[in-house]
């Protein structure tokens, strides 16, 4: 027998074995191809740190040519996309709290009169600064663009207004996070991300572990119904989730001084729905994966787009339409709106209802899918 320290033949045997095993484990193999591709596409196309075409609401009382000039000037910057003309300031406020618009541009009723009379005209731009990165560039271009547009408009009217003190004044309100502290945006988001990572992974392993260790056969031979088995797996992790929530919220308050302006009970209710959706998603994964390793890979496969497309890492409104649509089918997206809405913006139940309803749909969809996938037999 040869006793060489290194043998190519032995190495070949190990390599061949590894490749065979790789090929047999379909899910792992698919994951190896899909994950880089997914990352590439998402990072490459969807993520944009200089978000353009952000939805904006216009609050306006008169429809004169100055107003139209302002609006078109803002739109030509590419940063603003006026999606709605709000009837009142209160309505605009609610749109922003829900996260439907990132900006509210208010052109006061005396705008035209002030321009014509050579007084200093003003417009008010309120920006949702809960995500400081999303709004900063759009705000940056604001003053110059608006002034130039107005000058052009006035130039056509042949009104000289070159003196500094009657130039346009753009008043910018950075709402919800006036100092632009990024922790205020990140920490409430982290609550969702941490819950998503741990809850889905833990429950995804739960049922797979029984299959892997062979205890599933025994469990199925005993009189337990699929619903009982599912709840038995899912409820303990709901408790773990509750503990995590307390830890993260306490840390948010004590370590990062994140403001909490909304209702704690509303947030707790939303968290409960979100965590339910997560554990049921984990359980659904559990019914698909054959091994714990596969369960972990599937969890990761779901986790990646959740981080990238939900608006946690990158501004949601900055993504192209298709990526936003993809983001809508992730529970984390809706939860981030809820948690940021409640914690930073003080949104109330009617404002958050659409997002909580979306999370509720996930709960029922995952529960149905899990029960459908669950086999009472070993077939």
């Amino acid at each position: 027998m040869k006793t060489a320290i290194f043998s190519l033949a032995r190495l070949r045997a190990l390599l061949a074995k590894e490749f065979i095993q790789m090929r047999r484990d379909r899910i792992t193999f698919a994951m190896m191809l899909a994950v880089p591709l997914l990352q590439l596409v998402l990072f490459g196309y969807a993520i944009n740190n200089d978000p353009k075409a952000l939805p904006a609401a216009l609050v306006v009382t008169s429809n004169d040519h100055y107003t139209r000039a302002m609006v078109s000037a803002l739109e030509t910057t590419g940063y603003y996309r006026f999606v709605t003309v709000a009837a009142s300031a209160a309505e605009a406020e609610s749109l922003m709290a829900r996260g439907d618009v990132s900006f509210v541009v208010t052109i006061p009723s005396d705008f035209r009169r002030r321009v014509d009379s050579g007084q200093k005209p003003r417009i008010l731009v309120e920006a949702d600064a809960s995500d400081p990165a999303a709004a900063s560039n759009a705000i940056g271009t604001l003053a110059t663009v608006a002034s130039q547009a107005l000058l052009r408009e006035q130039g056509m009217q042949a009104v000289a207004a070159e003196t500094a003190d009657n130039q346009l004044q753009v008043i910018v309100h950075r709402r919800y996070n006036p100092e632009g502290i990024s922790q205020y945006n990140i920490v409430p988001g982290l609550l969702g991300v941490i819950l998503q990572m741990t809850m889905v992974m833990m429950t995804a392993m739960a049922l797979t572990r029984e299959i892997e260790r062979g205890t599933m056969e025994n469990l199925l031979a005993m009189p337990a119904s699929p619903t009982e088995i599912m709840l038995g797996k899912v409820l303990p992790y709901l408790v773990v989730g509750a503990v995590q929530v307390v830890v993260v919220l306490t840390a948010a308050k004590l370590l990062f001084s994140v403001p909490f302006v909304g209702s704690l009970w509303l947030l707790m209710g939303a968290i409960l729905v979100f965590v339910m959706a997560l554990v049921l998603l984990g359980y659904t994964i559990s019914t698909m994966a054959r091994t714990q390793m596969q369960a972990m890979q599937l969890t990761f496969f779901f986790f990646l787009p959740s981080i990238l497309l939900s608006g946690f890492m990158f501004p949601y409104r900055g993504m192209p339409e298709w990526a936003q649509t993809l983001g809508e089918i992730l529970p984390l997206t809706h939860f981030l709106r809820v948690t940021r809405g409640i914690m930073l913006k003080g949104a109330d139940l009617p404002e958050m209802a659409p997002e909580i309803a979306a999370l509720t749909i996930f709960v029922f969809a995952f529960a149905a899918l899990a029960l459908l996938r669950f086999r009472r037999t070993l077939d």
Partner: protein, 308 residues
């Protein structure tokens, strides 16, 4: 049969992909009977047992278990059947008592503590109640599994190779326990590879490549096989064995200790072939008794031929 039937299944078929694992198997087991289920590895024993306890849905065939319909009343069957899996399938990270409590609660046995204590006592596990199941040896794991299977007083016990990897003493005790339970009216279907265990059953069924080849008492199965066996004693039996290989009438040659068992289906032909050997110096040929093992070897050889 005078008694009620605990298991009465007919023409069960189970396919996995294009492979027929169980092929029209029928089986009847009377209440209180211990039936041994024999066959080579991969012959469909486990699949048949899983169909009987409702873990697998048969592709064809019907039947009843404990009077419940196999297809529509699987949940009721589960309540009254104890199934011991081939591989230890209780929770290794739970203690013995915790495992039993879990099972007792699933079967809604009340009060839980009383049932657990009684079961621990009966099986002599009381002193180990707080030991983790994962740290038990093979014999103790088997005891725990049996204890958990019979705690809810099932009417039918299905045991899938329960004594694999268990030492002879523990096996003996295990079988004594099975007989004690059967005496109390429990019906037992047990799959095994061991001939001595087959001989402790009231009846046996032999399955090979998904087909039921024989069933009856051990004596019946041996008699029906129609085999003749001769025992050869003497010196240099290895040479004798080589000599007999492929000779007319010789179907099996197997060394048993210091003797050689020669088996064939045609007794007369075999006797004539062996006459020649008997003339060798220091070699004696005597008629012997056909064993169950000889019968099974013949079955296995026969069905392998069928497959090719």
């Amino acid at each position: 049969m005078p008694q009620n039937l605990a298991i009465s299944v007919h023409n069960l078929v189970k396919r996995f992909g294009d492979k027929t694992v169980v092929d029209h198997v029928s089986m009847e087991v009377a209440e209180g009977e211990i039936v041994g289920f024999l066959g080579p590895n991969g012959s469909g024993k486990t699949t048949t047992i899983r169909m009987v306890c409702g873990l697998l849905t048969p592709d064809e065939g019907e039947g009843s278990v404990l009077g419940y319909d196999l297809r529509t009343e699987a949940l009721k069957i589960k309540r009254e059947v104890g199934y011991m899996t081939q591989k230890f399938s209780f929770y290794e990270d739970l203690t013995i008592a915790e495992n039993l409590e879990f099972v007792a609660r699933l079967y809604q046995l009340r009060p839980v503590n009383k049932h657990v204590d009684r079961t621990l006592e009966e099986l002599g596990l009381a002193t180990r109640r707080n030991q983790l199941a994962g740290t038990l040896s093979g014999g103790w794991k088997q005891r725990l599994a049996l204890a958990a299977c019979i705690m809810h007083n099932p009417k039918l016990l299905l045991l899938d190779e329960p004594t694999a990897g268990v030492d002879p003493k523990a096996r003996r005790e295990f079988w004594d326990e099975i007989h004690r339970l059967a005496h109390g009216g429990l019906t037992v279907l047990v799959s095994t590879h061991y001939m001595d265990e087959a001989e402790r059953c009231h009846r046996i069924s032999y399955i090979s490549y998904g087909k039921m080849l024989a069933s009856g008492t051990v004596q019946e199965v041996v008699a029906n096989a129609g085999l003749a066996t001769f025992v050869i004693e003497g010196e240099r039996l290895d040479e004798v064995a080589t000599l007999l290989e492929g000779k007319p009438g010789v179907e099996q040659i197997a060394p048993f200790g210091a003797t050689l068992h020669v088996v064939g289906s045609d007794a007369e032909l075999l006797r004539r072939t062996l006459e020649g050997v008997g003339k060798r110096e220091g070699v004696t040929v005597m008629p012997g008794e056909t064993s169950l093992e000889d019968v099974f070897i013949k079955f296995m050889a026969g069905s392998r031929d069928n497959m090719q």
